[in-house]
Symmetry: C2
Subunit: 393 residues, 2 copies
């Protein structure tokens, strides 16, 4: 009694014998299953993988050989002190194929390489006021930085992803970017891909920052706000990125906090970005840059920004019913005055739940960059067959 | 290239031989599959069901007999003019077990019966200013109305659901209801269930209104706003109710439209409800009730309410990236001035997509009541085995 009302979903029939049941697909699935066990925090033996997956020892050995040959898995020295045949623990190969992340921000361009274990192996970020330049300038900077980090890391690159400060279409085109207007309609993924000779996916920077937070142990249900010149959010629900109906969810920077407030770059008025974006904070505090703002730390400016963030986030929590809010980007540098103001607004305004966990991101301002590179690695780990097939060819 | 960034989900292994693969479960699944085909807009023959489901004719016949015996499916007279053995088309049995819906609103109590085909067979709504009464008063009214509609419909009742104007916990307890404070912590589902001798599920009225809209052909991705004394939203994504992380998503009435605005029943200030709830409209227009408001139709009051709705909805669309907004409850009676103001705000403020479809609900103010009754029917259609087993026992 009193179970929740059903969701009204249209059910799909389970039909046997369709595509996807073949031998090739089963091996592909099991390859991912084995790699997932190896990707855990501790090295594991083949026997442990077999026990955890329910696959036979023979199948596990065959799949592990394929993963080792592709450079995804490596064998540690055999454990000492065991009786009988020594077990050689397996782990992800930190010298295996890596992910390249690129970020094209409003005031910075960066690149980094993350290895299979999730470790950052090389990173460069340059502050670059390229907002009024043609995209080719920023693309050339990104290309040069990518070449540097790839050379420094010395690893094979499995693929790349680029984080962008705006609405990204499914085809990798930057559809809307109020703070980078000259980049709108540019197929940034393709452009970078051609320069780098790699497949480059494109994603929203707030989404990628939220994934980086999730992958580094952040809460599985949260609104993750990335503060900078633009303000965006990545929404994580049930340990997955929530994309909304059209894939462009999370534009919290344009949630209204004062309907008749200052004009916003988007064409609206009184958006959160006009109250809590970096340029608004600099203007309100009369400081020239983030470092000066952090040094001056004007409590009234930071409290006002926190209240605006709290108003917008209370709306988001009331709409999405999430238990946690993570403040990233520039906000961790703004300190307790901002954090306390956000908490006070949420405490006063959230009706959907009794309390909300509000915290600063543990990652630095490069969360989106790290998220982009790590997304490549996660995709590889989720379906290693593409890579092992290429390694065999 | 440029596929969307992966969502970061943890994958689940496909393990064979676990629970859920037994003969009983297969029959239960196939029973639902057959009923789903019969539930389509046109009557279908057993042969057509077999062809569409991939089940054998013999299996389909056996399952259909079980559904007929349980009163869920009925056979029409054999089609004329066919050669060979005549086909007897099947359809849902409109005299079969029905759903009972109850709504306890802030200013009304209602009950209705919806048959298996989704048709309303009996309905009563009484306007009742029971806000300050003990819950027993409203429960007694609901009990009496339910008895009346059940008697009028003359159908067996499969179950019941009650729509409530607040945050409903998974256990059917009304957790938060700023407009019905005396009902907070009341297990409304259980209380009604004991009075009616039926299992009664409890749900949020805006969620149930959104489902009613969806089930009557509304858009599969939409924010559905229910306006009344309270203002709530049901969010539909991919043809399913979106519940958020904690099951209480959609509290749009407490999204802020003016941070320093009037105090709200929730304890906050400047919530949408203080600008576009019924009591706010009556106060602003100096009219005593909805009928007088609709007759007077003061354009400044309705335009201001529409602007407030537009501000809150622009935020919701920017966060959720939905293509459609449906305005229900009292709003369809407020006319074009309100609708145009909502559209203008969305056009000016939405950044996540180029255009949003804004429309009035085609259902009346009783959408939540109808949704509650129809939810029971949908649950029965989704898993008829529970009912057929009871019919056999």
């Amino acid at each position: 009694m009193n179970a929740p009302i059903p969701s009204g979903a249209v059910r799909e029939p389970l039909r046997g014998g369709g595509p996807g049941a073949g031998q090739h697909t089963v091996r592909r699935h099991n390859l991912a299953l084995v790699l997932r066990e190896v990707a855990g925090p501790e090295p594991v033996s083949r026997a442990a993988v077999a026990a955890r997956t329910g696959l036979t020892r023979g199948t596990v050995s065959s799949l592990v050989e394929e993963l080792i040959a592709a450079g995804l898995v490596t064998e540690l020295a055999a454990a000492r002190g065991t009786t009988g045949r020594p077990a050689s623990p397996l782990r992800l190969d930190p010298t295996g194929p890596a992910g390249l992340g690129v970020e094209i921000g409003v005031d910075a361009v960066g690149a980094c390489v993350v290895d299979l274990t999730g470790a950052v192996r090389a990173q460069r970020v340059v502050h670059s006021h390229h907002r009024d330049d043609v995209p080719a300038t920023g693309l050339a900077t990104a290309e040069a930085l990518a070449a540097e980090v790839v050379a420094e890391a010395g690893l094979a690159i499995a693929g790349a992803a680029v984080a962008l400060p705006g609405v990204v279409g499914a085809d990798g085109v930057l559809v809307r970017a109020p703070n980078l207007p000259r980049w709108v309609d540019v197929a940034v993924g393709d452009e970078l891909g051609n320069r780098l000779g790699l497949a480059v996916q494109a994603g929203n920077e707030a989404d990628l920052a939220a994934l980086a937070e999730l992958w580094s142990g952040g809460p599985p249900n949260a609104v993750h706000v990335s503060g900078g010149i633009g303000v965006g959010a990545g929404i994580v629900l049930g340990g997955r990125l929530f994309r909304g109906a059209g894939g462009r969810a999370g534009e919290i920077g344009h949630v209204v906090v004062a309907p008749d407030g200052p004009p916003c770059s988007c064409g609206g008025r009184g958006c959160l970005e006009t109250a809590a974006g970096l340029e608004a904070l600099l203007r309100a505090s009369g400081t020239p840059d983030l470092e000066s703002l952090v040094t001056a730390s004007p409590p009234d400016v930071l409290a006002a920004a926190g209240r605006a963030l709290g108003v917008a986030l209370a709306g988001a929590v009331n709409l999405l019913d999430v238990p946690a809010v993570v403040l990233g980007g520039i906000y961790p540098r703004c300190g307790a005055v901002l954090l306390d103001a956000v908490r006070a607004e949420l405490a006063a305004r959230v009706v959907s739940r009794p309390a909300v966990d509000v915290r600063f991101s543990a990652l630095g301002p490069d969360a989106a960059l790290r998220g982009a590179a790590t997304a490549v690695v996660h995709e590889l780990l989720a379906d290693p067959a593409i890579h092992t097939a290429a390694a065999r060819a």
